[in-house]
Subunit: 430 residues, 2 copies
């Protein structure tokens, strides 16, 4: 049985038969379609951002990786006029859905919608409303950053890290992105009955190692066990607090026209590593997650340039989604140059093979730094001296218009709009 669950324009816009017959179908106006009932595991359904098919306005292709990945993704034509009409319709349809879908956890558009329509209305308060990587609260007159993240990455061990080190790095980095010095972490474990103790051991080694490097101590913990089949091996929540030094004020709303945008290194390493490890694809032996704590790097940068405007780690949704949020929150335009964005060769090959846009793939040890142009060279120099910033580079500039937009000057000379991630490009990457 093949059924379609629809996340876009009306269902009658696509022809099911084509798909069932030959694995390819044509579609007009629609954006993303989930496929169910294929003889593949649910996890193996990947949704690919359609924007990479910009140059094929009339047809839709199943990805070249279809058979190889034992999964499928449908990409849709991008036609600016149609899209903008669709966007509105999509939004409405997304909100009509009555169940949680994978893309609600993607860090992209559906996630934002879930937060804004269901979560925020119940919890609204000034600290939460900022929707920054960490909240900033006042405690005894000090500015304290506070954040939380749950980690459900699959697989729990991958080249370059594990769910334990990832959980610490992620929360350390979220604190850093507020300009804070990370101090204390809490650790909540949800374990599936039957998890081998040696796996838990290895995860805890990761937690300990990452905590040491991240300069934090885990001061409180909690362990829950659920019966077999009610969770997947291990889920970890880390929450953390850090102290924001006087004079530091960074935030996604602080980018100003004239600022420059620096990126601390290559993109997409983490997401591609997780994907290929999970699927058992042996594309490149050198693929490795970039998961790393950025506390030292950020401290070095803030020391020579306390005037940094924005710090952001482009995790779920990738660089494109992070920059879109900054553009929207700051009311500015961001202009990137595609050929300046560093991508490791094996990652680029994997992205091409799998049809993924590296700008939407998650990173776990990178940061975007937006600051006044005159500080550019000094900050780049400091970053490049740090192991986690050795390939730091200028990737773009902030401009005044068109507000709330991220524009990418492509390698072939055109310019396209980079939108926020739609759908769940890669589920369970963190």
């Amino acid at each position: 049985m093949l059924t379609g669950r629809h996340h876009g324009a009306p269902l009658n816009n696509f022809k099911k038969m084509d798909l069932a017959k030959n694995g390819m179908f044509h579609v007009k106006h629609s954006r993303i379609l989930f496929l169910r009932g294929l003889p593949i595991s649910c996890r193996a359904i990947y949704l690919i951002d359609f924007s990479i098919f910009f140059s094929f306005p009339k047809t839709t292709h199943l990805l070249p990786g279809f058979t190889f990945m034992r999964s499928c993704a449908i990409v849709f034509p991008r036609r600016t006029r149609v899209i903008s009409a669709c966007m509105r319709r999509c939004r409405k349809i997304v909100m009509d859905r009555d169940q949680i879908a994978l893309d609600h956890g993607s860090g992209g558009e559906a996630s934002a919608e879930l937060v804004e329509t269901i979560l925020l209305p119940f919890l609204d308060n000034p600290a939460l409303r900022e929707l920054d990587d960490s909240a900033v609260v006042s405690l005894c007159g000090a500015k304290v950053a506070m954040t939380t993240d749950s980690y459900v990455v699959d697989p729990i061990f991958f080249p370059g890290g594990d769910i334990g080190s990832l959980a610490v790095h992620g929360t350390v980095n979220d604190l850093c992105m507020q300009g804070a010095r990370p101090l204390y972490l809490t650790l909540g474990l949800i374990l599936e009955e039957g998890l081998p103790l040696k796996d838990l051991h290895r995860v805890m080694e990761g937690v300990a190692r990452a905590s040491r490097e991240g300069g934090v101590i885990v001061v409180a913990g909690d362990t829950k066990v659920v019966p077999k089949g009610h969770a997947d091996k291990i889920f970890i929540n880390t929450a953390g607090i850090g102290l924001i030094p006087d004079g530091i004020s960074v935030g996604a709303g602080n980018a100003r026209p004239g600022d420059v945008i620096l990126l601390s290194g290559t993109v997409a390493d983490h997401g591609i590593t997780i994907l290929t490890t999970r699927e058992g694809l042996r594309l490149q032996s050198s693929l490795k997650s970039d998961s790393a704590p950025l506390n030292d790097l950020v401290a070095d940068v803030l020391k020579i340039c306390p005037d940094v405007h924005v710090l952001r780690d482009p995790t779920r949704g990738g660089v494109a989604t992070a920059l879109n949020e900054i553009a929207r929150r700051s009311g500015v335009a961001i202009r990137l140059s595609e050929d300046r964005i560093p991508i490791a060769r094996p990652v680029r090959s994997a992205c091409e093979m799998l049809g993924l846009d590296p700008l939407y793939v998650a990173n776990e040890g990178k940061c975007l730094i937006i600051l006044p142009k005159e500080q550019e060279s000094a900050v780049l120099e400091v970053m490049r001296r740090h192991p986690y910033g050795s390939s730091a580079t200028l990737i773009g500039e902030v401009e005044a218009q068109p507000r709330g937009t991220v524009l990418l000057k492509t390698a072939v000379g055109g310019t396209r709009i980079l939108s926020t991630l739609t759908g769940a490009q890669l589920p369970r990457i963190c």
Copy 2:
């Protein structure tokens, strides 16, 4: 197929055949036996503390609730000399197991072992080592309490609350139990694909309501979605921080001989409500969880008696386990009177029917307060004026010897040792 997984003394100490034949078997030296392969869901296996069968030193019975609950529990004879020999052997065997089992999340002996042998060695630091309900850290010269808890309760809605309100109450209470005024919470959601949005709505209403009553604001959040079948509906992590006023110093190690032990109300309401709701048992329509925030009650108590020695909320593992930890940490004996411990009538009936010892069943809106005897009546008066302390009462005293022991004077006049919870009495109750 009926197989036994063994958590006690050597396997050859029990006779499998008896069980297979007539649902009853005899055992020597063993403590707890998990049964697998019965035609019941895994979740429905409950392990009952054996101590209630003190008066049957030679035989072991399947509980009367066996058929009714479609689950079983084996209780073992308690013979003091044998037990103490067993305890050592049990400990060793538990550590030889190579997988996570449900009782690792019970809050009892196996949980403590997991923490002490696997988690603590990797993370050891003074704040964590205390193993109190919250850690106490120093921040800008202030004493800050910090804690985390994950909630995996099943069902997510139950009489008297839901997983959202429970998650807030639990963390608020853990902060209060350190004498702190709870301030800020983080909220990490792990959602299963397919969760109805209306359920999420209802959970968030619970979070909002509980936060208002608990005097905290949720300043940071995170949402992850996992594919259907990789989690069970919704898991919630809450972490929180609170400020400990000057002059307050409570901790599980502070009980002193001569102190009195107050309990804020009836026991076992939460655990019994969850169990009966999950199993669809209509024992008593008036069963209701006691889940509640204790911030006001504790603040009232600390106002008139800043000299409180210990505050503890008897959650997983119940009153017996919480008091055992206090006795052990403080190096004192605790003597309780069974007839002073308040138990609501429907809870008592349910416990009798299901063969559960209410002293080991979880509470989510109760606290144990240990303080100098001379403050007893003033504090009881204040507690009884508060809705969450209206049936507060004195339940026992702290003595010097035998150190590390909790003794219960039974209603019929005997005295028995109350040990720490062994095994997972009720899984997923919080």
